[in-house]
């Protein structure tokens, strides 16, 4: 339905799609411009940074396509339209996800995959079978970890109903963070996104395993293989938080 509604304003849809391609292209342009001045950033060359960018962007794009409307939960709680979802015989999480589903979000996935494809043959990696297998696994479990953050953030909005920007700093901020090598940041920050909000498992740790590089906070290489386990471990509490949040929902009356 939402796909058809956006198609109604055809000129605008075309401009939106082009705009999305431009937005994602120019997003990478900042990194490309940086590399017009330097050979490496934090010890990582252009191909490696593009690899990080591609994996982070693809994983985030998948989550954004499926759950990108989660930040509307706060508004629905505020104006009481959450009630509409509660009376329909479909899981509420699925309804929230489908709310204002935007096909144009595919743009980010395409951009991520293109950059990933460009970087792969240019990487200085030894492609053993476990590394090859880890590649799709890391993107999918990365999407699941981002998904857990989206759902947890939406659950948080049942309490703080107009704070969707806090969620943005973990989702959009998270994907921006993961586009740069972990060596660029302080150890405290790397520790925080490894143990506190395990975003490092989206691509940093698996990528370090694939590229056979030392971990800046001294974790062994095999931790990169743990990404799917971490993804499962993240989704369970996020789901519980969502259900707990939904239980505390009180309609606005009127």
């Amino acid at each position: 339905m939402w796909v058809r509604s956006t198609m109604t304003y055809r000129t605008s849809f075309v401009i939106t799609t082009l705009g999305n391609i431009a937005i994602t292209a120019l997003d990478f342009a900042a990194i490309a411009l940086m590399f017009s001045h330097v050979e490496s950033l934090g010890g990582f060359g252009l191909a490696e940074v593009t690899f990080l960018y591609g994996t982070s962007s693809t994983a985030f794009g998948l989550t954004d396509l499926a759950l990108g409307s989660m930040d509307r939960v706060g508004r629905r709680v505020r104006d009481g339209t959450m009630d509409v979802l509660l009376v329909r015989p479909v899981p509420i999480l699925a309804q929230v996800a489908a709310d204002r589903f935007a096909l144009r979000r595919v743009g980010r996935i395409i951009q991520g995959l293109v950059l990933l494809g460009w970087s792969l043959p240019r990487l200085d990696a030894e492609w053993t079978w476990d590394r090859l297998l880890l590649l799709p696994v890391m993107v999918l479990s990365g999407a699941a970890i981002f998904g857990a953050v989206f759902v947890a953030g939406a659950a948080f909005q049942f309490w703080a109903n107009d704070a969707c920007e806090v969620q943005n700093s973990f989702t959009y901020g998270g994907t921006t963070l993961l586009q740069y090598p972990p060596t660029v940041f302080t150890r405290e920050l790397v520790r925080a996104v490894t143990f506190l909000v395990p975003l490092a498992f989206v691509n940093w740790l698996p990528a370090l395993y694939i590229l056979d590089r030392p971990n800046p906070i001294g974790l062994p290489g095999w931790t990169g293989l743990a990404a799917p386990l971490v993804a499962v471990a993240c989704c369970a509490p996020a789901g519980l938080a969502w259900r707990a949040g939904l239980r505390t929902y009180r309609s606005t009356g009127s």
Partner: protein, 266 residues
Amino acid sequence: MRLYAAVAVSGFRRYATYRVATAAGVFTNTVFGLIIAYTYIALWDQRPHLGGYDRDQALTFVWLGQSLLTAAALMGGSFQEEMQERIRTGDIAVDLYRPVDLQLWWLAGDLGRAAFHLLGRGLLPMAFGALCFELALPASPLTWLSFLCAVALGLLVSFALRYLVALSAFWLLDGAGLNLVSTVLSVFFSGMALPLNVFPGPLGTVAEALPWAAILQVPADVLLGERHGPALAGAFAFQAGWALALLAAGRALQAVATRKVVVQGG
């Protein structure tokens, strides 16, 4: 004049109501400031004096960008969506019937909003940045004063650009596409993505001549003490020139657009 001041004050108070949202926004600006600051440190460690900035100046640029981001609505999310909605539903006819100037009315409201965001979402990230990093903030009150003038002119340019985008709804009805394009251009060409003086060759020259440079790059250069004497006057002239040209363009487009409006009876 009193009327427009009242509109500006109500614009300020309208955004001041959302305290939790403002706190959340400050948190977001701080997180992004931190991430970008570390990438700039990595960049400037390899190339000290890149683009004529030293490391402290580059870091000041990062936090200034976060402070001006919402005030100048570089990522959108201000009056233009509301105005486009009024155009789409036809409510704009009521606005045109009022004995006020349409452009000045929206300008007053937007300046009120910007003033709130400058205080509410500008000061704290900057203070956080100054605590965590070595920033190149000026000591002279005169520099601060010229910086505030540059910010004010920048806000005017930002409004004038977004007013043109908002008016496009008279033809497109749904402004979402053009809003997005406008966001892309303003983020990239204002210096938000990377300071414009780091852009290589002709791209940098073009970027510094476009109106978006007046929103972030010019105020930043004024704050960082890169513009003195005649160069400072030149910077103000650049900003004021774009502001006047774009506001005039908005006025002309508005005249064409309002001739299109057909009020349905009922």
